[in-house]
């Protein structure tokens, strides 16, 4: 399995890393810009959406997810699953709390 993993791993060109870095910087600026706008109830989903795209870029490009083995993707998806549990169950509190009281 280790042989397969190594054989599929191609070193990415430097330009890809630089482009990804540029995109992350742009998205950071976009986050700050969005933070000063009033999107009402969409403010948080928009901020989380931008953050999600940034995290995906880091995992896929910088952490070499694009050329990793299926087992590595199992680990990545399992981690996301656990984070979903954390956020989902936490939101079960926030979305059903008696805020009016």
């Amino acid at each position: 399995m280790a042989t397969t993993e190594h054989s599929t791993h191609q070193p990415a060109p430097l330009s890809l890393y630089l482009a990804t870095f540029g995109m992350l910087m742009f998205l950071t600026i976009l986050t700050i810009f969005a933070g000063f706008q009033n999107f009402g109830m969409w403010s948080t989903p928009i901020a989380l959406g931008i953050a999600g795209v940034k995290a995906a870029l880091v995992v896929v490009i910088f952490m070499h997810g694009y050329s990793s083995s299926p087992l590595t993707w199992v680990i990545i998806l399992a981690s996301m699953f656990f984070m979903t549990i954390m956020l989902g169950l936490m939101l079960s509190d926030y979305m059903s709390r008696g805020w009016a009281m």
């Binding site: 981690s79 656990f82 954390m86 936490m90 079960s92 509190d93 979305m95 059903s96 709390r97 008696g98």
Partner: protein, 555 residues
């Protein structure tokens, strides 16, 4: 590498005594101090952890002594209120983060995981040593916080007190815990990869000893949960130093968010402490009952189930915080589910013992204590997962008693059982069975005297974390403090007879208790530096006692 420059007579004597009956073993193959401090041998790293966590345990125990001394009388006459707050905070932090969490995984796990899977070392030996030094650095930082004046927030660091109002050394302590958290993450990562990639030929997943299943499940929790507490403490530091609103309502934050994030790690952390003990129990019960483990597969899967369920029950610590009652109902129901795999384990162990040829050696005596105390701890947890009773019992001494039954009765007694069980393998020496059994008995009696009265105190309404209390609670508090004295004797005895046995004990053969797993059947006592002369090949299940019950092993 020339590493004999710091060779000392003390170390040479230490190594010579330890290995005087074996040609070359991991204790005597190099005498220098640097060979210990820079060792990449998982067995030596395990011993480095053993020494360090024992020192931390003594410090945490001394703080517990101060707490019990203060509570001997209703008035605050030994510690001031502020000092009392700092004492119980330090006791909790030291015992949890610097003793219990690294106890079995870092000491016994380091020593045993490669031996039990037929490997020469863990997957990343350098990372393993780095983990130890992270633990050491975290300990130094935490002790610095204590020496500077301590922390008064309780080990839970609840906001907004910790982020806004406390005048103690919260940031320094948080940095210490942040660092030690990474030690835990890296140890877990190392074990997961070791178990996946370094098993010897023939050692399939369902031929793994149940201790390995316990350590594996623990490692998953360490890897997935610990980053959350690291981030949470980081956010706490950001709010406290920079005034960024995360948990403080005045700044637009939510203090309950801290509790969600804190308990998302800290409840699974209970399973980091208890799952390895459950693994030790399976090993000890099989060996000393001379029986194949009843329900091997279901015990293995119940370890994984406990690890998974542990992540979805955290808010049962928060029922009285003002969280949504609807979410509380969901968490209450989910919490009950943890009892299922725990119950499966207990019944499987009882079934393993049933009809077995039980021998009452020291490790087994500790496990008998463990079984009773862990069961009481687990059952009282069901009282607390019930929404109605939790309202009454929350933040009372009932909680204190409950988690000590789990963490001391379960985790510490499991650790002591494991340490006694594998001591002949670790040192090549046998300790005195008389003193061992006596210490196990005294610990059990002292523990119950200490903590059972606290169930009653909590039921009667005595809140935790107060240094004064109404007069009517004194009798039970005196019981508890007296019990703590007995418990301390039980703890201190092994600190005498075990080191004594290391130097003067009878020599142990390679398998003094007749264990059937690889560390007993394929290595010497103590093991050679590279564990196995040749890579073992496994052809049968880990526990294969059928037809061998009559073969009483003498040692």
């Amino acid at each position: 590498m020339a590493s004999v420059s710091l060779e000392s007579e003390t170390f040479k004597k230490f190594a010579d005594v330890a290995g005087r009956d074996n040609d070359v073993n991991y204790l005597n193959h190099d005498h220098s101090i640097t060979s210990w401090l820079f060792t990449l041998d998982h067995k030596r790293i395990g011993l480095l952890y053993l020494v360090t966590i024992t020192l931390m345990f003594l410090l945490g125990g001394a703080l517990a002594g101060a707490i019990r001394l203060e509570l001997l009388t209703p008035k605050g006459d030994f510690l001031t209120a502020d000092t009392y707050n700092k004492a119980f905070t330090a006791h909790g932090i030291i015992m949890l983060f610097f003793f219990l969490i690294p106890s079995i995984p870092a000491v016994l796990g380091n020593f045993l995981v490669p031996l039990m899977i037929g490997a020469k070392d863990v997957a990343f030996p350098r990372l393993n040593l780095f983990s130890y030094y992270l633990y050491f650095a975290g300990s130094v930082i935490a002790l610095t916080a204590l020496l500077l004046g301590g922390v008064d927030t309780g080990w839970t660091f609840y906001t907004p007190f910790s982020s806004t109002y406390s005048n103690s050394y919260v940031i320094v302590m948080a940095v210490g815990l942040f660092v030690v958290g990474f030690s835990s993450i890296l140890t877990g990562l190392n074990f997961i990869i070791t178990v996946h990639r370094m098993r010897c030929p023939g050692l399939t997943w369902f031929r793994l000893p149940l201790f390995i299943w316990g350590i594996y499940a623990t490692s998953v929790v360490q890897l997935l949960g610990t980053p959350v507490i690291a981030v949470t403490l980081g956010l706490l530091g950001v709010e406290r130093t920079l005034g960024v609103g995360i948990f403080d309502p005045r700044l637009g934050g939510d203090p309950i968010l801290f509790q969600h994030l804190f308990w998302f790690y800290s409840h699974p952390a209970v399973y980091i402490m208890i799952l390895p003990s459950l693994g030790v129990a399976s090993e000890v019960i099989a060996t000393f009952s001379r029986k194949n483990v009843f329900g091997y597969h279901i015990i293995a899967f119940s370890s994984i189930a406990i690890a998974v369920f542990g992540f979805i029950v955290w808010a049962h610590h928060m029922f009285t915080t003002g969280m949504s009652p609807y979410a509380a109902m969901v968490f209450s129901l989910l919490t009950f589910s943890v009892a299922i795999p725990s119950g499966i384990k207990v019944f499987s162990w009882l079934a393993t013992m049933y009809g077995g040829s039980i021998s009452f050696d020291t490790p087994m005596i500790y496990i008998f204590g463990f079984l009773g105390l862990f069961t009481i701890g687990g059952m009282t947890g069901l009282f607390l997962s019930t929404l109605g009773t939790d309202i009454h019992l929350h933040d009372t001494y009932f909680i204190v008693a409950h988690f000590h039954y789990i963490m001391v009765g379960g985790a510490v007694l499991g650790y002591m059982a494991g340490l006694h069980y594998w001591w002949p393998k670790i040192t090549g020496r046998l300790y005195s069975e008389f003193w061992g059994k006596l210490s196990a008995g005294i610990t059990f009696i002292g523990f119950n005297f200490t903590f059972f009265p606290q169930f009653i105190l909590g039921y009667l309404g005595m809140p935790r974390r107060y240094y004064e209390y109404p007069d009517e609670f004194q009798v039970l508090n005196v019981f508890s403090s007296a019990g703590a004295t007995i418990l301390a004797i039980g703890y201190l005895m092994p600190l005498v007879y075990m080191p004594y046995s290391f130097f003067f004990g009878e020599k142990a053969n390679s398998n003094p208790y007749g264990g059937s797993t690889l560390e007993w059947t394929n290595t010497t006592s103590p093991p050679s530096p590279h564990n196995f002369e040749k890579t073992p090949v496994v052809t049968e299940e880990p526990y294969h006692y059928h037809g061998k019950e009559a073969a009483v092993v003498s040692h």
